[in-house]
């Protein structure tokens, strides 16, 4: 039964992906959001105006294995050196029920410079929709309703200083490549020369 569910999810993902690609070509990926930061303040993407943004979706609950994406982003910031001040790096939770602002704050203490965002279920759903990110909640194998997992889009989004979409890179991209790409947006002329 579980096999069929997984298969169905894979097929669904493929279909969504194809549609997503078509819609992304329409330029609908806006990257707008209204969320809550780790201090409990409501923030929108406007708060980061003037900065190139690096955005990932995820959640902190990982009872099994934990992705190293935030580690990767931290290394990207290392690579950027002084230029890191021109970049806003954001982790948007797709699990607002468990990722409260306070919990996110504790968790992100291990990743200085990464901004944690969460919100109500509706706020998170709207943000994900605007990024064309997807997430699906799965019940836990142990049957405990508190132990659900969340499959989610794992790309690294790069948005421009106004919050418009620039690029999407795979979650396991090499940090130096991501930094290189960010620099190409920070200094477009240098790249052309």
């Amino acid at each position: 039964m579980r096999m069929w569910k997984r298969l169905a999810l894979v097929v669904l993902t493929l279909l969504i992906g194809l549609h997503g690609a078509a819609r992304a070509a329409d330029g609908e990926l806006t990257g707008r959001f209204l969320l809550v930061d780790t201090e409990g303040r409501t923030v929108t993407d406007e708060a980061y105006r003037g900065k190139i943004r690096l955005v990932v979706f995820g959640y902190t609950y990982c009872p099994d294995i934990c992705p190293t994406i935030l580690n990767t982003l931290s290394v990207v910031l290392d690579h950027l050196g002084q230029d890191r001040t021109k970049v806003a790096t954001m982790f948007i939770s797709v699990d607002p029920a468990r990722d409260t602002p306070l919990h996110l704050k504790d968790y992100l203490a291990a990743f200085p410079g990464i901004i944690g965002l969460t919100g109500s279920e509706e706020q998170v759903a709207a943000a994900a929709r605007n990024f064309k990110a997807r997430y699906v909640r799965n019940p836990a194998e142990d049957g405990d309703p508190a132990h659900y997992s969340v499959d989610h889009t794992a790309s690294i989004y790069i948005m421009d200083r106004e919050g418009n979409f620039l690029a999407r890179m795979p979650h396991a991209s090499f940090p130096d490549r991501v930094a290189e790409r960010v620099r190409s947006y920070l200094y477009p002329r240098k790249q052309e020369e």
């Binding site: 993902t13 992906g17 934990c66 290394v75 468990r98 990743f111 499959d151 889009t153």
Partner: protein, 194 residues
């Protein structure tokens, strides 16, 4: 690491731009068809001195990658701590390499909290171990033979103190071929959700 091969794998995985992460991907013991070289890492000890795998030449190594923010990693540490002592006589070293950006301080605090007695402080000075060892998720434990080659890896937290692990570690120490029946089960982690 073979960057091109890694990228090809990623490309194959990225079946669509909206490909979802696969947190329930490969878990457990992965035995390599042929031993692989282990990328050079800048591992430091508690005093900031180099403590890389080259200092363990001639011994087999369990190289565990962990971080304080990774709940299953932290849950696995006490078992690895006990294992370090129990497998030393077999000629196996247990090395727990922290990927924490907080470096030594984070490790000291976590070890104190968990009551870790035997594991040494080992930090990833260049902050590149996850990338160099191709570890997109933690915990992961590399099984390295006496010649310094990665013969297998375990993705996720393992039951390191059961009969399967014992036969696995014996084979690793003796340089015998590892087989699937030696795969330790995934550790059942207890504790509250964060």
């Amino acid at each position: 690491m073979d960057r091109r091969g890694f990228i090809a794998t990623l490309a194959a995985l990225a079946v669509s731009p909206a490909a979802l992460a696969a947190p329930r991907g490969t878990r457990g013991l992965i035995i390599h068809d042929s031993p692989k070289p282990v990328a050079a890492l800048d591992i430091r000890d508690g005093e900031g001195k180099p403590a890389g795998l080259e200092t363990l030449k001639g011994r087999a190594v369990l190289l565990n990658l962990w971080a304080s923010w990774c709940m299953p990693c932290v849950a696995e540490m006490p078992a690895l701590d006990r294992l370090k002592t129990s497998v030393a006589a077999k000629g196996i070293e247990v090395v727990a390499l922290s990927l924490d950006r907080g470096g030594k301080l984070t490790v000291v605090n976590t070890y104190a909290r968990l009551g870790i007695k035997s594991l040494d402080i080992r930090t990833d000075e260049a902050r590149s171990a996850a990338e160099k060892l191709d570890a997109p998720a933690l915990p992961v434990t590399l099984l390295i033979d006496r010649e310094g080659r990665e013969v297998a890896r375990y993705v996720g937290a393992a039951e390191w103190e059961g009969p399967e692990a014992a036969s696995l570690l014996d084979a690793l120490a003796m340089g015998r071929r590892l087989t699937a029946d030696m795969a330790p089960p995934q550790a059942k982690l207890t504790g509250p959700a964060p």
